[in-house]
């Protein structure tokens, strides 16, 4: 189903770089309509709305990279698919081969 919806939310697969660098959520500010829907689902205190004088709406959601655990839940809430994954270049490579 997810792939056929207008706003599919979280992509079904991790971004290609996820095996090398941990993904962080990022808001594409030009897309954000500052609807606040993503804020309450972040249980890691990583989302806030900031003033953006140049933005059409004057404000945008922003991810605090240092708090983001890359859980993916905010992607699901966004009605305009404003979230993207970016590699966290400050972090050492993730631990591959996690035993199950």
């Amino acid at each position: 189903m997810s792939g056929t919806q207008k706003y599919p939310g979280l992509p079904l697969l991790p971004p290609p770089f996820a095996a090398q660098q941990p993904p962080l959520a990022k808001v594409v500010e030009e897309k954000c309509i500052a609807c606040d829907r993503c804020l309450p689902v972040c249980f890691f205190d990583a989302l806030r709305i900031e003033e953006r004088p140049g933005h059409a709406l004057g404000r945008s959601a922003v991810v605090t990279a240092a708090h983001c655990t890359g859980c993916g839940l905010c992607f699901e809430t966004c009605p305009v698919d404003a979230f993207v994954w970016v590699p966290d270049m400050s972090s050492s490579p993730s631990r591959p081969g996690t035993r199950i």
Binding site: S2, G3, L12, L13, P23, V41, G72, L73, R95, I100
Partner: protein, 338 residues
Amino acid sequence: MLTTLFLGMELRSPVIVASGPASHDVNQISLAERHGAGAVVLKTACSDKYQHMRFWPRPRYKLLDWDKQIAGRSKQFSLYSYEQGYSGSLEDYWEFIRVCKRHAGIPIVGSIFADEAGDWAAMAAEVEMAGADAIELDISSPHRPGSLEFDTTSVAAMRAVVGRVHIPVLAKLAPGTNVLKQAEAAEQAGAHAVTLCNRLQGIDVDIESQRPILHGYYAGIGGPWAKYYTMRHIAEAYRTVHIPISGTGGAITGEDVVKYILVGASTVQVLSAILINGWETIARMNEEITGYMQRKGVDRLESIRGQAVASMTPPDNIVRWSGEPLDGTRNIWKEPGP
């Protein structure tokens, strides 16, 4: 009105925050408290042997079949996720408990996972020493290694912990065909309560890439639909075991909490609804339970516990009628029309 006596603790509500990402940080405890939770079960800490479980894949949560109701009003979703233990070290976890206890006005339940009985007991002793009011043994995570057998590992773990600590011990069991036997085994091993049930393991597939979604392996899966089998497990256990039951799985409204109590639960642990619909879920549940009690003239939840089990109809007594047509015709073939 909602006050619930549970394992010697006086809870101001039967609604408890279940172990998971809503109880992974000290600052979430005040949120839980402010929204009316009766207690909090902290995120499960894994023994050092399972250090890898302290690391999580990214992403690790996907909402499937979601009705996308915002403002805390979703009624349908499946939360598909792969998140294992508490992300810090054991030292961090003991300090987590200490800080929670220093600031919280509601009971704090520690939660642990290990394999060997000695590790379970040693960790339980630390949880007690850090000040937790009770301890829950996560012997049922959908992500636990498949090699751990209930009859040996889990029973030994429960025995070892009960023998070591003085705080109440809850055994959190997995749903499925064995839950009743396991609840009986938990009672025999000395557990003071059972938590029924953890989530199921499932898998979803991306048909474009033909691969399992997200991390590429089975995931924990739950949602409001889980309430029906959860209630059945609670009802069965309520009939059979004599220790209190903490229900968990699928509750999203105060009505659900009332139902869990009617089938025998003493408390109800909630997580997914808080994640999807927000912390206000707890306050709303409390209001709805209170509304129900006022409408029905119930002053203590204890007085209705297990009512629906007491009035269940055994299969032999179910009123049955013929499923045949009155005129007795059968096996008369009619050609299907064009």
